[in-house]
Homo-oligomer: 305 residues x 2
């Protein structure tokens, strides 16, 4: 690993620890289980990771956050479309990815990911590119929560140019969309891929900006909603909406789908699955209800800030 890769990895590892601790503190009861893993020698990719998973908490029904770092002898074709000069070169990929599923249906599910790929033929300076983002999936919508989440994302991206937030926001709306339902997965956030920008240092700065913004974007919403009383009606609504989350991740999410089909670590990839999910034929919320308002008002791409 180059010195730069080490710096990125150190940042990601620290980020995972800090988020883990903050989520344990917010939960107040459960702790993350730690599962460190290594890719056995002889597998196509070498690498290691640390999966942290909390299940059955007071606030979080299932919360998973994984750190992974893999190396391969040859960059896959899917990654060289825009970089033909790197075809077949050795590469390294690392990232932190999380999905938190709260128990209380008034607390939204959240997803965040930051990752770096670097590749280069031996004897040349490696090229680094970055991807990631965060997005929020409420079961009951609140304008102030959406505004807070998007404002935090916007402020985090401000140092990278005025057009960065609008661009990454639109990218997120486009990516996290259940096309077979004609419906957004959530209220969006930011998403970016293949970011090279002003070089590796700026990529790391972007990674830090997103990573540091995450708890600021999410925890105030958790604190605001965690004590809201809920019952069977809200629970059923949440379980069925979680079905849309599963549909998105297994049908549309390129990382999940590609990971499962290409021999990735299944249990780490499926950290994103909700703990309990329901499907029902043509379930329709009552017109005018908060459940109907979710799809009509919130799950429609709009300018929140």
């Amino acid at each position: 690993m180059s010195a730069f890769s080490n710096r990125v990895h150190d940042y990601l590892s620290g980020l995972q620890s800090r988020i883990t601790q903050a989520i344990e503190a917010a939960d107040g009861r459960a702790v993350f289980r730690r599962d460190d893993w290594h890719k056995a020698a002889g597998e196509p990719l070498q690498g290691a990771g640390s999966t942290r998973i909390l299940e059955g908490g007071a606030v979080f029904e299932r919360a998973g956050i994984g750190l992974s770092q893999v190396r391969g002898p040859r960059l896959p074709p899917s990654a060289t479309q825009h970089r033909p000069e790197l075809e077949g070169s050795p590469f390294e990929a690392m990232g932190v990815s999380l999905v938190f599923h709260p128990l209380n249906p008034y607390v939204p599910t959240v997803h965040m990911n930051v990752r770096m790929i670097s590749a280069g033929h031996p004897g040349t300076e490696p090229v680094c590119w970055f991807g990631g983002g965060m997005d929020l999936t409420p079961y009951y919508g609140f304008d102030e929560d959406c505004q807070h989440f998007h404002r935090t994302c916007r402020d985090a991206l401000a140092p990278f140019g005025d057009d960065t937030y609008p661009r990454f926001k639109a990218w997120c709306d486009d990516y996290f969309f259940n096309r077979h339902r004609g419906e957004a997965r959530g209220i969006g956030g930011i998403f970016y891929d293949d970011f090279v920008g002003g070089g590796a240092e700026q990529g790391l700065a972007l990674t830090r900006a997103v990573g540091e913004a995450f708890l600021q974007a999410y925890l105030p919403i958790v604190e605001r909603r965690a004590a809201t009383p809920w019952g069977e009606r809200e629970r059923q609504h949440q379980l069925h909406r979680r079905g849309r989350y599963v549909e998105f991740n297994l049908v549309w999410d390129r990382g999940t789908h590609f990971g499962l089909q290409s021999g990735g670590r299944t249990e780490s990839i499926l950290l994103s699955m909700p703990p309990l999910v329901a499907w029902q034929y043509q379930r329709q919320p009552e017109p005018g209800s908060p459940e109907a308002r979710l799809t009509e008002h919130f799950l429609v791409p709009r300018a929140w800030v």
Copy 2:
């Protein structure tokens, strides 16, 4: 529609009705809701269907069976790989597809499908090909159930040659396999695709043979297991195993995946989803338990008859 297509459609429609009635009788409490639909003019495919769904029954927690028939002006490229002479020709597709999810974890989930595609350039005799099969997914395995299911499949296929059952059985084992888990979806059955055989009449005969065998293959197992007492342990096991069913259908099943990505009728395609599903990190059954025996003994392709 040609006279032959009419005959196939009549058979499929009758099959749907008979299965629906038999399942209602077996359930003893719930009835199927009927939802007839039409593709609006102007959509890429013309067609109609009848979706029947039973939810919250005494025996079946969710049981869906759909009949559909669509026509299109141009056969999709995925269907013309083996038939380049039909490229771009008008086509018709029809089928019955079902998935039944019982409430009692001792009763297995079952899937059955029979379908026909016919295509031909105007003024030529259309070519018909057939696909389908049935397979069983137990949560607790019983050798006699697996043997009965496979014996019924084998006997149904006997008129089509001695090699038909072994071929379709191996195809089923290969197709219904969760590659990311290294695990079969269930205990198999039969699966076939692109069957032309001795022409359209033989294809219809095969469709009838599979259709008629279905209730014989499944209902005796339902009757044998439906009164088995079960509790929270069995329920939790069932909910987690259902997660594998979701994973297969959304990640690997070509029909589901292609249907959702190409604008099929979402609620009809997702009839196959279980009513309630759970995920948990690295859930492992106790060594030596019936839950462990499921994966070790039953979810491994083997000769049942």
